[in-house]
Every structure is written in C-alpha cells, then in structure tokens.
C-alpha cells in the first residue's frame, strides 16, 4: 500500500499543570497526500496550532505528545532525536507562522537569513545560495530583489515580510509546508494575495500544504480536503467541496453557515450559540453536545467515533452506529 | 458583617491563589520568609531579648573589651559572641543594630515608594510638560548610582546642619537621603503601567461618570499597578538596607554611639589584623543573611507575578 506523505495516528497532546493534566489534543488521525492542500479549521483553542507544532517537533513545554505516532514518507518522526528532527525541519517540512512582523530577526538582513537557511540544508557554496535566495525572492514577488536582499526586515511592509517568510519556508524545497494562520495578522486586502501566492508556489513545486486557519472562506478557496477540529477532537474530515457544501456534523454546519456568500442569497449568517468549553471542562460524551441543537441522550454519555458517510467522515451519533 | 465576610473571602482567595501556591512550592522562599520574619521580630523585641543594652554607656566596661566568643577559652557565656573594642556585647549590638538597619531600610523604602508612586502616577496620567520634566530629572538622576546621591545628600546635610543637630537627626537624614536616591525606579515603573492602564475601559468609564483626577489615579489606577511596585519595594528594601550599611561603613551614616551593622563592621575592620575577627564576621553574617533573605523574597515575587518568565 502506497503510504501518504504525512500520516498522523491517534495523536494526543497534553499539558501538565498544577490543577492536573489537560488534554489539548485527543487522539486525532489524518493523512496528507503529496502536493495536496489540507485545511485544518476550528475555533481558537481547538488544538489546530498545537497539532502543527507537534508534527514539526516544536511543542513548547509543558505541552507534550502523550500518545500516537507521526510518519513522514512512512518514516516515524515523532520520536526522533533532536538533531535528526532538526534536519527535517526546513528541509522536508517548512513552517509559516502567523505574524510576519515578529517572525524575522530584526538584526539580520533578509538575505543573510535566507542564505543561512539554504546553507543549513543544501550543499551549496555561499554564492550559489545567494543566487538561490534571489530567485526565491523573485518567485514570491519581491520587486528589485537584488537590491532588497540586503535590506533589513523593518524596511519591508507586512505583506512583503510575509512573502519573505514564505520564501524562507520554501527555500530548501520541502515536501510539506505547515502554514499556521498565515494571513491573520495581515490587512484584509493583502490576505488574498498571500493565499494565492502560497497556492501557486506550492502547486508549481508540488509542495503539500497543511493550512491551519479559522477562516472558512480561505479553506473553501484553496483546500483540497479539510479537517474540522473541536475541543481537541476531529469532528469531520473530507473533501472540501463536500464539507463546505454538505457539512454533516452540526458543528461544521454551524461553521459553514457563518461564511458570507455572494452567490447564495442568505438573509442572515447563522451563528453557533455558546462557546467552546475550556480544556478542564470538556463535557463527557460528544464535546459539542451542550451547544448542539440535535443532541440526544447518547451524546451526553458516549463519545462518537469517526464514521464514513457517503460524503465525509464524521464523528456524530446522528450518523450510523 | 459584610466586612468580615469580605475579609474571610479575601483570605480564602489568597490561600487559593497562584501566588500562595508558588510560595509554598518553593522551600527556599519559605525559608527566606521565615528568616526575614525572625529578623523583624528580633529587631522589634531587641530590648526584651538582648542580654545587654549596648546604647547605655554606663553599662559598658572597657575591661570587657575584645572578649572572644564564648567557645574560646578566654570567652564567657555572658558575651556569647564576644565584645567589641568598647566592651559592648556583640550579640546585643547586632540585635540593636538590625533594628536600626531594618528601620532605616523600611522607612526609606516607604519614603521612596510614596514619592515614586505618586510622581509616577501623575507623570503617567497627566503627561505633557509635567511628565517631560519629571522624566528628565529621573533620567539624570538614574545615571548616578543611588549610593552617590545618598552620600551627596548626607554631605550637604552635614554642611547645613550644625554638628549637634546632625548627630540627633542622623537617622532621619539617612532615611531621606536613601529614600530620595531610590524613588526613580518606582516612578518609572508606575508611569509605564499607568500609561497602559489609563486607556483601558474602566478608567474611561470612571472619567465619563465624572470622577476627579486624584480619585481616578489613586483609587482606580493605583490598585492595578501595585504588582510591579511590590516587587520593586521588596528588592528596594534589600537595596536600602545595603545602602544604609554601606554609608555607615563609610562613616557617613549613623553616629558610632548607636552602631548599626555597617558601623560595627567598620569598627571591626581595624582589629582584623590583630586576630579579633568576630567583630567583623558576626555583624557581617547577620547583614548578609538578612539581605539575602529579602532578595530571595524579591526574586520569587518577581517570577511569581510575571508568569511569562516561569
């Protein structure tokens, strides 16, 4: 059986605190195929970013992987020693963070930061690395790159800086890029450009993208498949067309109801009443049941498993079993 | 009735708080708190527990001078830690000396706090030219070490006051000079936090309902900027005690008739070469222990109130 690019199996992430252990991510599984754009969506605190950090091995203490396995190209990576994992970061898996303003070292020119990263992963001379950096800057749409390469981050605008960040994430041709809310900190007018750029570049290079966001609009626009997370659990996963148009889980339905659309005439955007539970107050059974209009007895007691429906996989007692 | 319940609630909240939790978790901090408390109690009750009264010249006998500690063959149990060159019992003098050190420390720290916090609030809340002038003064002053400022103030006081008056007022001159040399830290911190707080909604709400400026500053903003002030005050206490000891050691502090720990060390240093080490070492150890304990408390408080650093 051909293995996927990335496989995550029953990943669990926990925090040890003085008030006991908090389960932030609770046994989620998914895989990402070569060249695919995979979206992970959910409210803040749902565990999306933690999942991304866990894959690249950068969970910050006291957070830790408590269970599960992560495979890259069929090779298990969640237990690798630090040095080996470091060689994977940037080389096989690139990462883009939320805030381009703070992602770049203010005291180094962008050229130095690019060249440093390229030389870490690729067997090139300094001159070749600079050539490659220039090419990357051109690709991400920085005008006059031969001049800009020697500029410092503060001399760039927010959108331009995020382009530099993308160039940095892609500079060793990784096979997967994890983009954690890459446009949240940017002006709305620039968000679309950055998303389009990311999509185009990854298509050209055949790079898979794991796009973490709370913005359903962005998901609908560029993703191939999407996973919906709620309170550290995966509630629905499937092709984007299905999840967006025919969401099965009541939570996904709520999320999709909140996307404004130009085509459909909807009188009012729907909203989900209530708030996601805090990690120390996750209810028994289905975590969503206190906010769910359809909840019944079983939802309060038993936790639903992901089951295959005609369109997506969904964890809800309304479907099957 | 409500007041009592409020108090109980406050106490319960305190013992349930993260602050108390992190306090009980750190054995070193608990020990430091106990040591500090012991020093404070010893200082308050010095007249009751000290075996002799070192400030009473009539009770001194020069024949007792340079008695070594009790465990030496020449020592006596009457003077557990030995005596100094005047025949003063060292243990009693250390107890009384800690009293002076702690008093000057607390008083000057409080003085610095009141001045610094008030000016910081005014500077941060009102801003404009007042702020500019105050902060310029602070800038200039902070570039001079506190000890130098304290020495200058002390020197000026000596120039202005007649010798007799100066002797009598020496302790208050110390409190003033140490206090005035330390207000800047309070003022800067409070100013910074005030500038953040004053744009928050509760302040604007208070302004909208027509509260006066002083009310807003001292009743609404002040409680919200007290966290860092507490940290600075604790570390400031240690610094003030050290400054007092240093000034006294240098001979510009309290008069030698009422020796503080620093004065004792100054006196003792002359006899170090003759082998009478105890006159330096015991007061030195007491001073170092006290300052170390207060510093440990300050360090802990800073980490506990600044969750980012944990």
């Amino acid at each position: 059986m051909a293995r996927s690019l990335l496989e995550v199996e029953r990943l669990g992430i926990e925090f040890n605190t003085r008030r006991g252990t908090l389960v932030a991510v609770d046994g989620i599984s998914f895989e990402i195929e070569e060249g695919e754009v995979f979206g992970v969506v959910g409210e803040s605190g749902a565990g999306k970013s933690l999942t991304g950090q866990a894959i690249i091995g950068l969970l910050e203490p006291p957070g830790r992987i408590s269970s599960g396995r992560i495979y890259l190209n069929g090779k298990r990576i969640d237990q690798l020693p630090y040095e080996e994992l470091r060689r994977i970061r940037g080389k096989k898996i690139g990462m883009i963070f939320q805030d381009p303003l703070t992602s770049l070292n203010p005291l180094y020119t962008i050229g130095k930061q690019l060249i440093e990263t390229i030389l870490t992963h690729l067997p090139l001379s300094h001159k070749e690395a600079r050539q490659r950096a220039l090419k990357l800057l051109t690709e991400v749409g920085i005008p006059a790159p031969d001049k800009r390469i020697d500029h410092y981050p503060h001399q760039f605008s927010g959108g331009m800086r995020q382009r530099v960040v993308i160039a940095l994430a892609l500079c060793a041709d990784p096979s997967l890029v994890i983009a954690d809310e890459p446009t949240t900190a940017l002006d709305v007018s620039i968000q679309a450009q950055i998303i389009a750029l990311l999509k185009r570049l990854c298509e050209e290079k055949g790079t898979a993208v794991m796009l973490i966001t709370h913005d359903m609009g962005v998901i609908a626009e560029i993703c191939d498949r999407v996973a919906v997370m709620y309170a550290g659990r995966l509630v629905e996963i499937g092709p984007v067309a299905q999840v967006v148009k025919f969401p099965q889980h009541p939570y996904s339905q709520g999320l999709m109801g909140s996307i404004p659309s130009l085509r459909r005439r909807v009188r009012r955007l729907t909203q989900i009443d209530g708030a996601m539970p805090r990690l120390n107050e996750i209810p028994p059974g289905c975590a969503f049941h206190p906010r769910c209009k359809h909840s019944f007895d079983r939802c309060h007691k038993e936790r639903p498993k992901l089951v295959e429906t005609s369109t997506t996989k969904v964890a809800c007692w309304l479907y099957g079993n | 009735m409500r007041g009592v319940e409020g108090l109980h609630g406050a106490i319960r909240r305190f013992f349930d708080s993260d602050l108390w939790y992190s306090f009980t978790r750190s054995k070193v901090t608990v020990l430091a708190a106990l040591v500090t408390l012991a020093f404070i109690l010893a200082a308050i009750f010095a007249p009751l527990i000290a075996p002799h009264d070192p400030f009473d010249p009539a009770s001194l006998d020069l024949m007792d001078a340079f008695t070594p500690p009790a465990w030496y063959p020449e020592g006596t149990t009457e003077f557990l830690l030995g005596t100094d060159d005047q025949g003063r019992d060292l243990l009693s003098t250390i107890l009384y000396g800690s009293r002076i050190s702690l008093f000057v420390g607390f008083a000057s720290m409080l003085f610095a706090m009141v001045v610094g916090v008030s000016l910081g609030l005014i500077s941060g809340y009102i801003g404009g030219p007042i702020d500019a002038v105050l902060m310029r003064i602070a800038d200039v002053q902070i570039s001079f070490p506190a000890i130098l400022i304290a020495m200058l103030v002390d020197g000026v006081a000596r120039g202005i006051l007649p010798t007799q008056r100066h002797e009598a007022l020496a302790i208050w001159v110390m409190v003033f000079s140490i206090g005035i040399s330390n207000w800047v830290h309070f003022a800067r911190t409070v100013r910074g936090s005030t500038m953040v707080e004053k744009n928050k909604e509760y302040v604007q709400a208070a302004r909208v309902i027509g509260r006066s400026r002083p009310t807003i500053m001292f009743q609404h903003i002040l409680p919200n900027v007290m966290g860092p002030v507490l940290v600075i005050a604790t570390i400031g206490l240690a610094v003030a005690i050290l400054t007092e000891a240093t000034l006294s050691y240098l001979g510009v502090g309290v008069p030698p008739t009422k020796p503080s720990l620093g004065t004792l060390i100054r006196i003792g240093q002359s006899f170090l070469f003759a082998g009478e080490w105890w006159i330096v070492i015991f007061p030195g150890a007491a001073l170092a222990t006290l300052v170390l304990a207060v510093n440990l408390l300050g360090d802990w408080l800073r980490d506990a109130l600044n969750p980012k650093l944990r």
Binding site: R89, M95, T117, T120, H154, V165 | F144, G159, L272, V280
Partner: protein
C-alpha cells in the same frame, strides 16, 4: 550618524549644565564660602572685602557663568580641608581610580557575559543553578564585606596579597600607573575583584533574563522551524538580539563603577578619587565634592555617548533613515 552625534552632544551639554548648577548651588549656598576660607578673627570689613573680591556679591547668573567658565578651565577652587587646589588633588588621584575601574569593568564583562549566556541558554542545568546562587550572594553581600573577607583570607590568613595601597607605581608623564609592576598587579587583584563582583552579578542577571526573553521570541521559533542549528540560533540570532539592552545597561553600570569605587577604595585604602570624596563629605569640603560630582557626570555623559553610538552600530532599525530615535 553625524546628526545623532550632534544631538547627543547637545543633550550632554544640557545635562552637564544641570549638574554644574547643582554643583554651583552646593558651592555657593551650603555653608558660607567666606567663613570656610578665613579664620574666626577676621573682621567683618575684611570678610566683606573678600566677598567682593570673590565676586560673591555679583548677580547669581554672573556667578554661575563664572563658575562654569572656571570649571571649563580646570579651576575648581581650593580644598577647604587640605588648602590645595582641587585640580591638583584630583589629578593625583584620577589614575588610581580609573585603572581600578577599568580592570574591574573588564573583569565583570569578561566573566559576567558568558555566565549570563550560559544560564540563559540552559536554565535547568546544575551549573546554571550554581551561577544563579553565586549571583544572589553577589548582590546580597555588601561590597565592603566582600573586600573585608578577601583581606581576611588572602591578606591576613594566607598572606598572599597586599591588603592596602597600589603597590609600586611608574610615572608616565603626570599619569602614575600600577599596571606596569608586579606589585601593582598584585595590589589591584583584590580591589578589582571586589569592585567588579557586584557589576558582574548585575551583568550576568541582565544577560540571562534578556537571553531568556529573546529565546521566546517568534523569530527564534521560526528559526528553529527552519532547522537552523542550535549554535546558529543561540549564538547568532539570540545573542545578537540581547546585545542592545545589554550594551545600554552595561554602559550605565560601568559608569557607576567609578562611583562605587568609593567603597572599594575605602576598604583597601586605595589612593583614588573616591577616598578623597569620602573624606571631603566627612569634612563638608564643598569644592572637592562639587568637582567630584562634575567629573563623575562628565564620565557618565561620555559613556552614554559611546553607548548610543554602539547601539546604532548594532541595531539596523536605528540606522534607518528617518527612524525615530
């Protein structure tokens, strides 16, 4: 860069003027300069003539200008206590203080920065905890006590090092240096260690907390996510970013070393300016006090300027055209 230097020069000028005003007020209003200079038996008429000669009856602004002009020419008046020109007294003692401060500063930087970096990078290692403990003791033990303990151990008990003075000095023009003789070096070890110890702990704690702060920054996280080596992250990205605040505070600290030298000089009877200042306080010798104040302020202003310039070399954000400083 030039604009910066000019602006800084102007600011320094204002600070110096303010300090001069304080020194002048000391000089003019604390005690009566005339009665300090003459004996009890001088007649009132003589005193009045002296007042006139000294210009003490001129308008204050004239007196102040004269004070500033005189100070610029090095005419700082005559010590009440020693009856010699303050300029001479200071010139004799300046080299001792500056050499001591310099050696102490180098020592505290050379040891404090590596210790701070280490404890910042590896806060949970035993060696870090040991350094932390040392630093806490370092700020809790008063400087003079450290000095006395050193004297007791290395001077009295072991007899290895001299307990007071500068040892043999060599004259280089008007400058007398102890750094060219073996006994001079022996004599400076304990005082420099004592003086540097407090600064060392401050520098170590500062570097440590800045290092820990920077290591939490987003750009460090991003650097890790790019797979850069720990070496490049810790000693390149992180260390360089801690430099800016470290330079500032270290600069200020080094300035205060000269003032803290007062204590060390007293403990070791080091014949420097600090000892002179201390004696002048005990005798309310105002001309020496105000001159010392002006001199210290001058060193501060000088150090501050150097710090600012270093700042601009390290941080490109400040170098940018039109950047607000």
């Amino acid at each position: 860069m030039i604009a910066l230097i000019i602006r800084r020069l102007f600011q320094s000028f204002v600070v110096m003027l303010a300090v001069a005003l304080v020194a002048f007020s000391l000089f003019r209003y604390v005690g009566d300069p005339v009665s300090q200079m003459v004996g009890q038996e001088t007649s009132i008429a003589d005193r009045e003539r002296l007042r006139e000669e000294l210009g003490l009856n001129d308008p204050i602004i004239v007196q102040f200008s004269r004070f500033v002009l005189n100070s610029l020419q090095g005419k700082f008046g005559i010590s009440f206590r020693l009856g010699r020109p303050v300029k001479e007294l200071i010139a004799e003692r300046l080299p001792a203080t500056l050499e001591l401060s310099l050696v102490a500063a180098l020592f505290s930087l050379a040891v404090g920065i590596p210790m701070g970096v280490y404890t910042g990078l590896y806060p949970h290692r035993y060696l870090s905890k040991f350094f932390q403990a040392i630093s806490l003791i370092g700020i809790s033990l008063p400087t003079f006590l450290i000095g006395i303990l050193l004297i007791l151990i290395f001077g009295v008990i072991l007899g290895w090092l001299p307990t007071f003075g500068r040892g043999e000095v060599v004259k280089l023009g008007w400058w007398s240096t102890g750094l060219l003789t073996v006994s001079g070096w022996k004599a400076i070890i304990m005082p420099a260690f004592t003086l540097g110890m407090f600064q060392l702990t401050l520098i170590m704690r500062l570097v440590r907390s800045e290092m820990m702060e920077v290591l939490r920054a987003d750009f460090i996280k991003f650097a890790r996510a790019r797979g850069l080596s720990n070496r490049a992250i810790n000693f390149g990205h992180a260390l360089k970013n801690t430099l800016v605040p470290v330079i500032t505070i270290t600069g200020l600290q080094l300035g205060s070393i000269i003032a803290f030298a007062i204590i060390t000089e007293t403990v070791f009877q080091w014949p420097g300016m600090g000892l002179l200042f201390l004696q002048s306080i005990q005798f309310a010798d105002i001309p020496v006090m105000s001159t010392y104040l002006i001199l210290i302020a001058f060193f501060f202003v000088l150090i501050n300027m150097i710090v600012d310039i270093l700042y601009h070399i390290v941080d490109p954000r400040l170098r940018a055209e039109g950047a607000v400083v």
